[in-house]
């Protein structure tokens, strides 16, 4: 193993410019992918915030006994799709209306606003079909006058989410593919630069595994260093965007960042494995 590590160090020392270029190429590829990831993360978070506002409002008939409402709340809260149910009294509805539409606050009167149940759904149950199904079940209670959930809005939101998701997957695969190709080509250059050494190793009886090992470690290390640089660049870009636009967007969670850096290492390792394997088959 120490011999392998020595060969790795020697390889880096022998071609420092190529090593630096390899790391920078890997860093740039991963940075581009990381930027895409940041955009995808923030779009997804924004959509999640909007989705959290999906709610079903069931307006109750005047004079509904509080016992009946409480029983219904227990029933509805037990639906597998339901996250929570709140009772909104006419007074609370009035306070909320006055707050949301300040300039019309004198127009509202507690007497005109009915009590209602505000039902919020769990993540994963906010699609139009589920929302509609829950609304229909709530509508079956005799004291429910009307049920509203912004059908059109939920439908649009769901479409946007689907489009964003599909675009994210396609772009993500494309970015990752480009990164793998660029990284693979960069590592291939490193392998070609050491072709003579590989041929000599094979002539003196080095096994393919022995020849391959330093390149795999080299590829992994370059991938990890490239990943760390890409992460740093992404963080700088994130900070600049937040400062310039005055917003507070989200950055990768620690585990995502670690995963990204390790993914750089794995791409480097796979790129090396493919390049050396290809080269060894040729010589």
């Amino acid at each position: 193993m120490s011999l392998t590590l020595r060969e790795v160090a020697l390889g880096l020392r022998r071609a420092p410019l190529l090593s630096v270029l390899s790391v920078l190429t890997i860093a740039c590829s991963l940075f581009a992918f990381g930027l895409f990831g940041l955009v995808a993360l923030n779009v997804s978070e924004a959509l999640r915030h909007v989705e959290e506002r999906v709610e079903i409002r069931a307006f109750l008939a005047d004079g509904t006994p509080i016992e009946a409402v409480s029983a219904a709340v227990g029933d509805i809260a037990a639906f597998p799709e339901v996250a929570r149910v709140d009772i909104i009294t006419p007074e609370q509805a009035l306070a909320r209306a006055r707050k949301e539409m300040g300039e019309f606050q004198d127009v509202f009167d507690a007497a005109v606003l009915p009590a209602s149940l505000e039902i919020r759904l769990k993540p994963g149950y906010r699609d139009p079909t589920t929302v509609k199904a829950v609304a229909e079940r709530v509508r079956t209670y005799s004291f429910v006058d009307d049920v509203r959930y912004g059908e059109e809005w939920v439908q649009k939101l769901y479409s946007i989410r689907n489009i964003a998701g599909a675009t994210g997957v396609v772009l993500g695969i494309a970015f990752a593919g480009v990164a793998v190709i660029i990284i693979g080509s960069t590592i291939r250059m490193t392998v070609l630069a050491r072709a003579r050494e590989i041929s000599i190793m094979r002539l003196v009886g080095a096994t393919d595994g022995f020849v391959r090992r330093p390149f795999l470690i080299d590829g992994f290390l370059k991938g990890v260093v490239g990943g760390l640089i890409a992460l740093l660049l992404a963080w700088i870009a994130y900070t600049l965007v937040n400062r310039t636009l005055g917003i507070q967007s989200s950055f990768f969670a620690t585990h995502t960042a670690v995963f990204g850096v390790l993914a750089g290492g794995v791409i480097g390792l796979l790129g090396s494995a493919l390049s050396v394997g290809h080269h060894l088959r040729d010589v």
């Binding site: 003579r196 041929s199 003196v204 096994t207 022995f210």
Partner: protein, 236 residues
Amino acid sequence: MIRFSHVTKEYPRTGVALSNASFRIGKGEFAFLTGPSGAGKSTILKLVYMEERPTSGDVRVGGIQANEIKRRDIPIFRRRLGIVFQDFRLLEDRTAEQNIAFALEVTGSSRDAIPGKVSRLLTQVGLASKGPSYPRELSGGEQQRVAIARALVNDPVLLIADEPTGNLDERAMRGIFQLLRDINASGTAVLMATHNLGLVRRSEFRVIEINRGQIVFDSADSSSPPGGNDPPPTDV
């Protein structure tokens, strides 16, 4: 040691490089492989160290059959051989002793044993004081000696030399040839490709001449071999 039976090697682009070649080289024998450039000498050597496999026919080296050996076992097989080339193939960024040590390291020699063995090999090839020199600091003949020392690291049963004197002046050439003779005298078979007919004629060893991919002369089969008293081949 080496047995070729009706061996043909054909390359997809360049066509037939070797046609129906049959010969045997015995244990401890010294044989020249001669012929003009492009005649097929290097193809024979590549078949011997199993860089190439025959298109048809049978190649056996030290009992190993080229068509049967698995690719992953070829490096292990090569540890029984020593191979030297006209262009030396030394690692330029390592000293003479590091080049030799490298061959020992890649074949898994114990670390403690390496310095002593490197020193002995450098002495054997007459370069005891040149260990710390880089290839660029050595003459052509000295570089070839380092390459030969490297080829000897695993005490090979067969030394394959592809035009080892091709890049050397007369004096260096004689020195390298004498070194190969000494190695042969210690029991290692030597198969040396060369187009230096002067060298071949001056020596007493077996000569296999190849032209356009065909063996046109083998002194072992000839009633009047040009070299004369080569030992009879004893295949193993």
